[in-house]
Each structure stands twice: as structure tokens, then as C-alpha cells.
Symmetry: C2
Subunit: 445 residues, 2 copies
């Protein structure tokens, strides 16, 4: 803290600060100062007394940590939460989800679905989400209106949907959105080719050229099930990851989602190219897709982030649950209780997510000059007492409902669990209307 | 509803009633009447208008369901929550948990730890728990004072601990407790031999004789890891389950906890003897112990209940989390997304638990003349909207913090998330004192 900066907009005195960088650190008796959109100081509480702040917040029973980064999802699908459960991936998609989407998805559906998703995400500690869904302009507009940070990877498919006719139209609409939000402080835009089994090679190659030219992110569902990999080998003679590599689509801008079926050669290729993996443990378990070998990926230095996937396959967007599931699943599958300890799970949900999304210079940890994307978690309730270990409590005992405060780019979006930019009563009414409409249509089928 | 019973102590009008029996049912526009400790009617709301009640409760956004049954745990160990994480079972026990217990466990420790556990359990929907721990008299006294239902299976070990010197003393103290509480409406007492590797055959045989004579429950940790089973085969020439059977300990009063390593012969033996299995999915994952083959057990008609294990190995006592983990793990491990659907997971946490504990004629479902052990869950919040499917929402989207009301034997123990019999401030102070004491001792080691 330089001697000049003796003022701040907001000065917070939490019980504990978990900065995530340095890895595993927990600071006691420290304070954090915010001015504008940035963190201007993290310093011992005693030194912080010298700062004159517009607002001082005492949170003696709380931990302050970086806002969580949900690196994969389809936010608007929250309107289909619980619509079809206990189904395998392909029947779930083909017989339930895709027909419902064809009947109902519109810009209004996306606007309301994304608002519902953002309400849930902020209430459970997420401050940045990645989204891949139709009408991404409606998602971008909603996120900006509600003050939420997001990466949008606009969808690309070979076949027509409610949003576009063919790959060219998906791409041109998506790039138009990128132009529209290029000055946004909250929204970044990249490519979201759905999967290698739904986007042809010429279209994937086109994405590779454009993404390199524009230097933007590409997110794709990849190796979600063993069946997907086996079918690709049968039909194309190679694994989907190899196809992406051959087409020039694998590199440090690439976010590979799911990745349950991985041979050692796949892991080496990810490590060599610098591509990122987004692990979605609960969705993979619920759809019986398989399990991402997190430990083997980490051992080769591959960056692994965490995603919830959609509320239609999860059925929540709660990253505290995903952290716990990721840690427990890693221990079970490696038959090693020391695998993925609490600090590593928390890194996956914060700085690793920021890295995957190319935002790690701005968010993902609490450090001076980073954006003030942060949350306060109340550890004083029975569920997280006694407090032998702050990191353990956050990963293994919190369920997300202990998140009380949230800031995004220095703007407070939740205060004592009250959302500042969302009217939950009005949102509840619109959500119930969507339920009636969707159920009425279903009864007619 | 007979025409005579036109009065009730309490009449509740919830949005939905999930009675658990019949399996999978969800009643809309129904009401439930309670008089004294029992449910006196479940009937269409219109007919319920004829009932004159002392208190009428409108819960239009809530589901009413049986209180959850946590069939395995060590409640007082909540004071060691997060004390030693990311460790395998044996080092965790031998280097961390057992030394801490030797230093700190007393009747006071148990009284405070059990109160902390009960606070967390009621807040997450549990109304009955099973407990196996030292100073079980302190647990019984605390449960009765706080109005909580429990089965206590008092611990039996070959070696001395803070509570008893040898197996005979464990048993005589435990049976004295059974005498003390024999008229209790809330507490039942059975035998809790720790495991086949900590209790000798003569002592297990003694338990078998006494349990048969007294007709009481026996709960034991069994087949928790493959290592336990392999070591038993090497040392005794038989699997632990076979040892129990040979000693006459396997029958419909027996509750086998964990059961991760099961051959088909084990499953047949469980089915033939009518012994129950208590599945603890999160604890088994966190300690990398293995995974209970729920689907194969159910296919042979074995009753499978659900337990949290202790907060020192979980690290919460939240059965909503266990239901979700059980369902997701069953799908992943059977590679079948239709495995353990929501209704089955809910049955495991309610009626199957009641069956395992021998309480299914009194609790575990909402039926006329059963005890009014029930909870209300608020489904109106963003996390559980839109409400396409009540059962899905309860199992896959609730995290326990949506439980708002709880009744045990007709007595309301929580109202709008306020605990009626527990002073959380006073409990918090005592919990923080235990933390200081435990950490001070650890620093001296």
C-alpha cells in the first residue's frame, strides 16, 4: 500500500481473506480496499485504520474470496430445470430437450431464463459465467443489465434451430454480437461450436481460421461420453480431440468441456497445445457420461476449470456443490483420499476458470489492481462451525447458501443475501408463466 | 377421514404433499391434520375446510414430506469438523481423530457436539438420526431435551477409551442406558460393535446372544474398504460379512454400514438374512473408501438406507446432499442415467431408513396414524424454479437450506428456519470454546 492511496470507496474487514493466489493462503486480521472497479489494497487490519473510506463493512464471521467462475453452462435452460430427469444423454437431448427448445426458445425465453440463472448463480457465489446458447444477444443484454460478468461462446451447429439456419448464419450473427459488445466491461464473446458430431469439418475449420484471426476463445463439448469417442473413431478413424488438432482448433484459446474419456495420448496433446479442460462433475454423473481424470490432467500441467452445465442436467448452478463433487469424485476415482485437496478445488472454481476464459489478469484471485469480483461467505452458522480449517469448510461444508455479499467489478450485486438488481417477485411470476406454457404444450403432445 | 374427527391441533395446507408411501406420489391441493403426536388425516383441501383446528398453517409454495432419517453418524464429532481432511481412512483415524478424541472427548464434549449436530440436522430436514459414540447417555439426554428422535447404538470396542475399559464395560454401560430410556418416546437403544477388526469374535458372539434375547438393533461398520475385506480374508480366512453370519449376527435387526466392497455372494447373504445396508456416499468418496453397489442390492430386494457419517469425514450432516450424491453416484457407477431415480433416493432417506432402524410402523412416510415427523421445504425460491417436477427438485436442486419447518412427534422444532429449542448464540459460543481448546492442544503436540 503506497502512502498516497489513503482513501478508498469501500473498506472491508472480514474474519478471513482467501486470496487464492498465493495458493492455499488464508489471511487473518487483514482488510481489503476497493476504489472504482479495482482492489487497491490488501493489508493488515491495523494498517488499514489509516484509510479513509466512503463505506466501511465489518464482516467478522465471514471469509472473503474471489467470486467463483462457472466455466460452462447454458443459462437460459434453467427454465427447463427438472423437465426431464433420470435419462441418458442422447434420449434426454433428442426426445425431451431439443423438442422443448424448438417449441419454446425465443429471445424472451433467454432473457427470463438467464435472469433466473444469474439470480441463482449470484446467490451461490458465482460472479462470472460462461454461456453457450441461442439468442446470445439476449444473454449479453441481460448480463450487462444485471451487472454480471460473462463469456458468451455463441452456438454453431450444422442444422437449423430457432436462432439460425446454417453454420454461416450462426457465425455471422455471433460475430455481429461480438461487435455490439466490444466495449463492454462485462461481456466477452467467442465461438461455441457445439461438438464434433454436430458441426462438420469444413465449418470447424472456418471457426479455427476466424478464432485465430480475431484472437478469441473457442468452447466446445468434447469427449463427453465414451460412446461419442468410439463413434468418432469408427466413422472418422480418429478421436474427436485429434480431429480438432488436425483442423487447427486446439490451443491456449480452446476450452474443452467434459473430457470424460481420455487416453494418455489425449492428455499429452492437451498439455502440448495449452488447451483448457472444463470439468462438469455433477452433470457427468447425472447423465452417467463418465468422469474426467482431473488428477492425471493436473499432473501433466493441464489447466482444469469447473462448470455446472445447465440446470436441465444438473439441476443447479451452484459451484460450491461442484467444488465438493469434484474433490470427492477425484478421491474416489483415484482411490486416494489426498487427491484434489480443498485448496485445489477452490483454485479450479476461481483462478483456473479465469485462465480458461482468458481473464486471469483481471479476475480469479484477490490481488491488488485486479478487478473487485469477490464474495463474502458467512462461516458463523452451525453448518460451518467449529472453524478448524477455513478452506475445508468452504469446499466440504458450505452449500452455497452461506454466501451473503457479492461484488462484480467493484459494484455490489448482493448485500446480506438481498440481490440489488433483480426483483425476485417479478422474476418468480415470469418463471411460473413459463412453467404453465411449457407444461401446457407438453400435455398436448 | 371419519366424520367424528372434525377437530385437529394443527391443520397445514401445503402446495404439495410428498407422502413417500405410495412410492413416487405427489399430492396437490391436499391438507394434513395433526392431533397430539400423530397425523390424523391427509385429505383434499376442500374437505379439510370442515376441520376446526387450533392452528392453521398456509404453505402454498412449500412441499410437505416425511422428516429425513439419517441412519448412520457420530453426532458429537461435529466438533471435529474439518480437523483433518484429505487423508485416507486409517491415517485419518490413527494419527488425527483417535488422538484428538483421547484428549478431548467427555460427556460435555458429547453434549455440545450433539447439540451442534442436531441444529445442523434439523436445519437440513433430518428428524431422526442414528448415533454411535462414546457417552451415549449424554447423546440420549441431549436428543430428548431438544425433541429430536434418535436410535443410539452404543459403541463396543476391545480396547479402552475415555468411556469404558473393555467390551464388558461398554456393554454393561450401554445396557444401563437402555434401561434408563426405556420409556422414552424419542430414543431407542441398540448395540454398536465398531467393526470386525476392532471387536473380537467372543465379544461379537456375546452381542449376538444379547441382541437376540433383547430383540434390539445392531449397527456395525462393515466392508468399508476393500483393504478391510482383504485383510480379514488373509487373517481369518473369510469375509467380514461371513464372520458376522457365522456368529449369528446377521438378520433383520442388523444394520451394515458402508458396504463398499461386495461380491455377489455377499449380496445374496444380505438378501437371505434380511440385514439392512446403510449407504454413506459422501463419506465413502471423501475417504476414497469405495462405492456401495446400490442398484445390485436393490435388485435383490435388500433394504438400503442413507447416512451422512460424521461431520469429521463428510463434512456436513445434510441428507439432501446425500440423496443427490447417492443418485448421481449410482448413475455414474452403473453407467445408467436411469439408475436410482429421484423417488428412490427420497425413499432411501425416509422409509428405508425407518425400516433399517425398525421404526417403519411409526415414521418414514406421511400416513394417517403415523407419528407427525415431517418437514416443509420452500420450493418458491430461484434455486427450485420453475417447478416442472417436485421430486426432481427435492433430490437434484435442493441443498437443504430450503427446509423451513420441522415437526417431530407432532411437536414443532423449527418454524420459518427458527429453531425452537436451541439457542444458536449460546451454542456458537460453546463451539468456539471447543475450537480454541482443541487447537491449543494441537499446537502443543
Amino acid at each position: 500500500m503506497s502512502s498516497q492511496a489513503q482513501t478508498a470507496d469501500t473498506l472491508i474487514h472480514p474474519g478471513w481473506i482467501v486470496p487464492v493466489i498465493p495458493h492455499g493462503d488464508v489471511l487473518e486480521n487483514h482488510s481489503i480496499a476497493i476504489t472504482g472497479e479495482r482492489i487497491t489494497a490488501i493489508l493488515p487490519r491495523q494498517e488499514a485504520q489509516a484509510i479513509t473510506a466512503g463505506r466501511v463493512i465489518e464482516l467478522p464471521g465471514h471469509a472473503l474470496l474471489p467470486g467463483l467462475v462457472n466455466s460452462h453452462g447454458h443459462a437460459a435452460m434453467s427454465l427447463l430445470r427438472g423437465y426431464a430427469d433420470d435419462q441418458p444423454l442422447m434420449p434426454w437431448l433428442q426426445q425431451h430437450i431439443w423438442p422443448a427448445e424448438a417449441a419454446h426458445v425465443s429471445a424472451d425465453f433467454v432473457r427470463d431464463g438467464v435472469e433466473l440463472a444469474i439470480a441463482e448463480m449470484i446467490r451461490s457465489g458465482t460472479t462470472t459465467f460462461s454461456d453457450m446458447y441461442f439468442f446470445p444477444d439476449a444473454c449479453a443484454e441481460t448480463a450487462q443489465r444485471l451487472g454480471m460478468r460473462c463469456q458468451i461462446t455463441f452456438p454453431i451447429l450444422d442444422f437449423p434451430t430457432v436462432w439460425a439456419r446454417d453454420a454461416d448464419e450462426y457465425i455471422s450473427k455471433g460475430l455481429a454480437l461480438r461487435d455490439d459488445v466490444k466495449h463492454s466491461k462485462l461481456v466477452t464473446v467467442g465461438f461455441g461450436p457445439h461438438a464434433t458430431y454436430t458441426v462438420s469439418e469444413p465449418n470447424l475449420a472456418k471457426v479455427a481460421v476466424l478464432a485465430a484471426e480475431l484472437d478469441v476463445a473457442v468452447q466446445i463439448h468434447l469427449h463427453e461420453t465414451r460412446g461419442e469417442v468410439l463413434l468418432a473413431v469408427e466413422q472418422n478413424g480418429e478421436r474427436p480431440l485429434d480431429t480438432l488438432h488436425r483442423l487447427g482448433l486446439l490451443g491456449p484459446r480452446t476450452q474443452c468441456v467434459h473430457m470424460t474419456d481420455l487416453a494418455q495420448q489425449d492428455i499429452e496433446l492437451l498439455a502440448a497445445t495449452g488447451a483448457h479442460v472444463v470439468h462438469c462433475p455433477q452433470s457427468n454423473m447425472k447423465l452417467a457420461s463418465g468422469s474426467c481424470p482431473v488428477g492425471r490432467l493436473q499432473a501433466r500441467g493441464v489447466n482444469v476449470a469447473l462448470g455446472s452445465d445447465s440446470a436441465a442436467s444438473n439441476n443447479d448452478l451452484n459451484l460450491f456443490g461442484e467444488m465438493q463433487s469434484a474433490a470427492l469424485l477425484a478421491k474416489l476415482h483415484s482411490e486416494d483420499a489426498t487427491a484434489l485437496p480443498a485448496a485445489d478445488a477452490l483454485a479450479m472454481a476461481t483462478i483456473n476458470g479465469a485462465r480458461a476464459l482468458g481473464l486471469d489478469e483481471r479476475i480469479g484471485s484477490l490481488e491488488r489492481d485486479k478487478l473487485a469480483d469477490m464474495i463474502a461467505v458467512d462461516l458463523s452458522q452451525p453448518e460451518t462451525q467449529p472453524l478448524h480449517n477455513v478452506l475445508s469448510q468452504l469446499v466440504y461444508a458450505c452449500n452455497g447458501s452461506q454466501v451473503t455479499h457479492s461484488w462484480i467489478g467493484g459494484v455490489q450485486v448482493m448485500d446480506g443475501r438481498q440481490l440489488r438488481h433483480i426483483d425476485l417477485d417479478a422474476l418468480g411470476s415470469r418463471t411460473r408463466e413459463w412453467r404453465s406454457r411449457i407444461q401446457a404444450r407438453r400435455s398436448n403432445d
